[in-house]
């Protein structure tokens, strides 16, 4: 399969990214296991390598708090300001070394290595430069398709000691060895249900899937799994940088830091979530025609009365104007609010999204006034430059008392001048 003109992809993936970020500015924790908690310190969303044997993903913090203490595992609230900045540094370094890079998630990116004479050496260079410049360890998987690169990366991590964190599967021998020694459930894009189907057909390893007939996979399941099988056998079906289509709905929902019983703070929360949702809306350059707002109480405590209700509001015209959207959402939540409950969560969802030009500019339809679009552009420019929330609707408080619980959050070492890392010169 490996012809000279075959493309070469690399997947660069940060090891235990959130935990690694915390360690950059806490060298004292270099050998201490770390877990990172979800918003509101709810459950475990990331673990350092040495915490993995002791803690499962998704375990609720309140249940494992004592166990963590006994084991000497340190817990952090998620610090997305830090992780976002460190991610940008890692991605910029990759982009400075390679011409075509697709940032796939906060801690992974695909890069095009086609035409590079020694791809493995490039992988090692990437690894050592990122480690030196950021302190974040990465694994690099290299292969002729994205799916194989992902598998190579997985192998690099699994066999860290043997591979030094870089695995190149461009050679048939290496590729076949890994395919034979990887369960089909470990293949990129094969979920639990698909695994069960495939195993039922006798497809148990990645090699079995690579050798399966792609056409019958397509007929039986989908074009997605067909592509996966073709990619495993070495035919590239996925290209770099296939941009995601704009989202069909945008949601912003969060637990309150404490239970709320009054309407006023709930309105503040809804306005805050709408501010964020409308930023996402404008970032993908869509307009929305409908807004759904919902609130609910906690659902698990048997002693508390339960209540959940949502309402959909249709807007006068497709819009991305945060002022109009906030007014609609705040009015809507007043309709579903019932006194006497202890609310734990609100959600704002933007529905019926359209791209400009997609909705008919019919003669009698009302459109968003041009001046509103200009105001939004100025708003986004100011907040882009001076930080989110610098300019906001009056209904959005600066420091809400219902805000997220983040009791174990590290400093914003790289994004706040008042929280910089302190280095002793005593």
């Amino acid at each position: 399969m490996a012809t000279k003109s075959a493309p070469v992809f690399a997947l660069v993936d940060c090891n235990s990214f959130y935990a690694s970020c915390e360690r950059v500015f806490r060298p004292d924790l270099a050998k201490v296991p770390i877990v990172v908690l979800s918003n509101n310190d709810g459950c475990v969303i990331a673990r350092s390598y040495d915490a993995k044997p002791h803690v499962k993903m998704g375990e609720p913090y309140f249940q494992i708090k004592d166990r963590l203490e006994q084991l000497g595992i340190v817990a952090f609230s998620s610090n997305y300001a830090l992780y976002g900045d460190m991610s940008e540094r890692v991605m910029s370094l990759i982009e400075s070394m390679l011409p075509a890079v697709e940032v796939y998630s906060i801690d992974e990116s695909f890069a095009d290595l086609s035409g590079i004479v020694d791809a493995t050496a490039m992988g090692r260079q990437l690894r050592s430069r990122i480690l030196q410049c950021t302190g974040i360890p990465v694994g690099v998987g290299i292969a002729h398709t994205k799916t194989l690169a992902k598998l190579a990366n997985h192998t690099a991590k699994r066999l860290q000691a043997h591979t030094g964190g870089v695995v190149n599967l461009c050679g048939d021998h290496e590729r076949d060895w890994v395919l034979r020694n990887t369960a089909v459930s470990e293949v990129w894009g094969v979920g639990r249900r698909m695994t069960a189907h495939l195993e039922g057909m006798g497809i148990k390893t990645a090699m079995d899937l690579a050798k399966a007939d792609p056409w019958s996979l397509r007929k039986k399941f989908s074009v997605v799994i067909e592509k996966t099988a073709r990619e495993l056998s070495g035919t590239a079906c996925l290209e770099l940088d296939e941009p995601d289509p704009p989202k069909q709905e945008i949601c912003c929902s969060r637990m309150f830091g404490k239970r709320l019983t009054e309407l006023a703070p709930i309105k503040e929360a809804v306005a805050t979530y709408m501010m964020r949702a409308s930023e996402k809306l404008r970032a993908q350059k869509s307009y929305c025609k409908k807004v759904r707002v919902s609130i609910r109480t906690g659902m698990f405590n048997p002693d508390e009365a339960k209540y959940a209700k949502g309402v959909v509001v249709t807007l006068p015209y497709p819009t991305d104007d945060v002022r109009l959207l906030t007014r609609a959402a705040v009015d809507a939540v007043a309709h579903v609010f019932q006194p006497g409950f202890r609310y734990s969560k609100a959600e704002v969802m933007l529905l019926d999204l359209r791209q400009p030009g997609e909705f008919s500019d019919d003669l009698f339809a009302v459109n968003q006034p041009a001046e509103a679009s200009r105001v939004m552009a100025v708003l986004d420019a100011i907040n882009g430059r001076w930080g989110r929330g610098t300019l906001r609707a009056a209904s959005v408080p600066g420091k809400p008392d219902w805000g997220m619980r983040r009791e174990m959050m590290s400093q914003s070492y790289t994004t706040r001048v008042d929280q910089l890392w302190r280095v002793s010169s005593h």
């Binding site: 997305y80 890692v90 370094l93 998630s105 001048v417 910089l420 302190r422 010169s425």
Partner: protein
């Protein structure tokens, strides 16, 4: 997975125009053709580079080279550390700011203040250079 990046400290730093004029109506400024670029402290100090970090210095052992407690230091992690560099080092995992000196076979973390003795890095010590200090910034009160 969706994530939110707050981005760097500011999108791009404060730019000071090299020259600025009020242009009287009707008279083109004779200097307009000579405006070359803007001065940016961000660019000068290189703090937008992915391998550069700002840290705060705490202590007076580097006063001799003008690094005082409370100063901001620009730390470059891409520079290969060498003899004579002022560095942020991790000595047994404690971050400290000192001058890195290689004396024969020994490695010394040297202070720039007679009150502080040199610290020889011994066999049982673990030393990592976190980054090299390229600039420091101090506020003079106003």
């Amino acid at each position: 997975m969706s994530f939110t990046s707050l981005g760097p400290i500011a999108a791009d730093g404060v730019r000071l125009p090299l020259c600025s004029f009020k242009v009287p109506a009707g008279f083109p400024s004779p200097a307009a053709d000579h405006i070359e670029k803007e001065i940016s402290l961000d660019e000068l100090l290189g703090i937008r580079a992915p391998h550069v970090y700002l840290v705060r210095i705490d202590g007076d052992s580097m006063q001799g080279v003008g690094i005082y407690s409370g100063d901001l230091a620009v730390v470059d992690r891409a520079i290969e550390p060498g003899h004579g560099h002022v560095v942020v080092a991790l000595l047994n995992n404690d971050p400290i700011c000192k001058r890195l000196c290689l004396r024969g076979k020994s490695v010394v973390l040297q202070s720039e203040n007679p009150k502080y003795p040199d610290r020889y890095v011994l066999e049982g010590d673990e030393l990592t250079v976190w980054g090299v200090i390229t600039y420091t910034v101090r506020s003079h009160g106003h």
